[in-house]
Amino acid sequence: MYQGIRISGFGGQGVISAGILLAQAGLLENKNVSWFPAYGAEMRGGTANCSVVIASEEVSSPVVSRPDTVIVMNEPSLAKFEPLVKPGGLLIINSSLVNSKPKRTDIKVAYVPCNKIAEEIGTTKIANMVALGAYAGLTGALSVDTIAKALGKVFKRAKPEMLELNVKALKRGAEIKI
């Protein structure tokens, strides 16, 4: 099993922490994992993206150049990462913020209104969790329960209420079907 993932969006949308969560969840399932951020000079407001690898074998390169799955949380990320998805791979689009449609026909596309669902639950801050839930549900690479468990490991100082909202968002995301 090998899953190379790229997550991209605005700084502040939680794409970096979403990536860490995936890696932590992979580790909890005894997989080999790596996470690598595209780090730039910007501190806030720029675009952010990261690579995550979850694999049963040793992870070779931590920089995922041909991802199996791409999660795009904002408009500019679509143009940048759509071409990278492996043929037959999955593109998860935050349809609340991304209006354009992908051009490729050789990949699977899931439109997930992440911000809308997050707002329904209580806060747009957890839009990234909706996307992760969708990823878990659509690929089956990780279970939502494991990601929920990873939440506690990654956000050690988070309030229980907030963690609960995150889990809700994960679960709602996991209900998404293509």
Binding site: I20, A23, Q24, L27, N32, V33, S34, W35, F36, P37, Y39, G40, A41, E58, V59, S60, S61, P62, V63, S65, R66, K153
Partner: protein, 406 residues
């Protein structure tokens, strides 16, 4: 010990040093290694040690010089431009035979360069770095796990041979997260023996001097000869390397650090297609695994070096192999290659090797020598390197040193 923790490379490096007994860190901010001083700023006080943010890299390395002279385990870290500033102090430590430990989380250069990963500081690291006639022990991790476990190795080697030891990492290794398992019992500095050269608390003994100079006629040369002898011993004893899929390989990739991960990805793709590719990874860059590479070149006749610099590391590979095999280069100076990209080079190169393999080719050159001495089989013209980023087969009557470079 035992548990796998998801950590950033820079944090693993810092935690690994503290667990190995480091109790003094002085540094100065520079991307992409800022997590090291940030981590140390709370972790060291917690462990009863000292963290200082110095006014400059120059000051930081000299604080380290002073602290190391008292016989404790110390550390500093920086990234390329900052390491250049520290080189004078590192040279002083080498000259004063002080066992210091430092890490370079390399970024693009020269000058301010960029903040992405690069391997452009190879020569600076393995050829001494500062002024004067010396070496630094250089360990090149290629995972977060090794970032966490190598500081202890560095302290042990540095103390055994009384000289600086460093970790040569890069922006990717510093910034990426992976599971790390610290595979040793935490070192309690109280259990470390105070060395017989350390300063402070001179009651009941003669004064000691830590210094890097000797102006007396002929004395410095004597000292440098003693160091040369020590360096030779290190080259004989302390080489570390890793081999993968070497046994049946017809082409061996040679790479260190992050490049070795990317090369491993390319190797996997190649093996999936039945292409017999292996990987040789030096773990110690100085001492360099010269003998091991030379031995490998007795059997394998084609090597491809992958490095994120213009062609620094390849020089050492070629020196080690000494013309007994073909060494090509895939270089990305301040660029990060993908596994696919390296695989494309491997595939083309491999096509050019296959027919050239074995007896037939040798016959062409000198039929008489045939199978008798495969060892001496010089690379035939057809194997000679090639230009640009991929490999063209028919080039080069004169294979220049630049051949094969991108």
């Amino acid at each position: 010990m035992g548990e796998k923790i998801l950590m950033k490379g820079n944090e693993a490096l810092a935690e690994g040093a503290v667990l190995a007994g480091c109790r003094f860190f002085s540094g100065y901010p520079i991307t992409p290694q800022n997590e090291v001083p940030e981590y140390m700023s709370w972790r060291l006080p917690e462990a009863g040690g000292t963290f200082i943010q110095a006014e400059s890299e120059v000051s930081a390395i000299n604080m380290l010089y002073g602290a190391a002279a008292t016989g404790i385990r110390t550390m500093t870290s920086s990234s390329s431009p900052g390491i250049s500033l520290k080189q004078e102090g590192i040279s002083y430590c080498a000259g004063a035979d002080l066992p210091i430990f430092f890490a370079n989380v390399v970024r693009g250069g020269p000058g301010l360069g960029n903040i992405a990963a690069s391997q452009g500081d190879y020569n600076q690291s393995v050829k001494g770095g500062g002024h004067g006639d010396y070496h630094t022990i250089v360990l090149a991790p290629n995972s977060v796990d090794e970032m966490g476990n190598f500081p202890k190795k560095c302290y042990e080697l540095a103390e055994k041979y009384r000289m600086p030891a460093m970790i040569l990492a890069d922006g990717i290794l510093g910034q990426m997260m992976e599971p790390v398992e610290f595979k040793f019992q935490p070192v309690d500095p109280a259990n470390l023996k105070k060395p017989d050269w350390s300063l402070g608390n001179a009651a009941g003994r003669k004064k000691r001097i830590v210094r890097s100079y000797d102006l007396r006629e002929g004395e410095l040369e004597k000292m440098n000869w003693a160091r040369a002898k020590k360096f030779q011993e290190i080259e004989d004893r302390e080489v570390q390397f890793e081999e993968k899929n070497i046994n049946d390989a017809q082409l061996v990739l040679v790479a260190y650090g992050t490049s070795s991960r990317i090369a491993a990805a390319a190797m996997k793709m190649a093996r999936d297609k039945g292409i017999k590719v292996g990987l040789f990874r030096p773990i110690t860059l100085w001492p360099f695994p010269k003998k091991q590479l030379a031995k490998l070149a007795q059997r394998v006749k084609n090597f491809l070096v992958v490095e994120m610099s213009q062609g620094q590391f390849v020089d050492d590979v070629r020196l080690a192999i000494g013309g007994t095999a073909q060494v090509d280069l895939y270089a990305r100076p301040a660029g990060i290659p993908s596994g696919e990209e390296v695989f494309a080079v491997v595939e083309k190169l491999y096509q050019s090797i296959k027919p050239a393999k074995a007896v037939k080719k040798v016959e062409k050159v000198k039929p008489a020598k045939k199978a008798k001495s495969p060892k001496k089989a010089k690379p035939t013209r057809k194997l000679k390197p090639v230009k640009k980023k991929t490999v063209k087969i028919k080039t080069a009557k004169k294979a220049t040193r630049k051949g094969g470079r991108r």
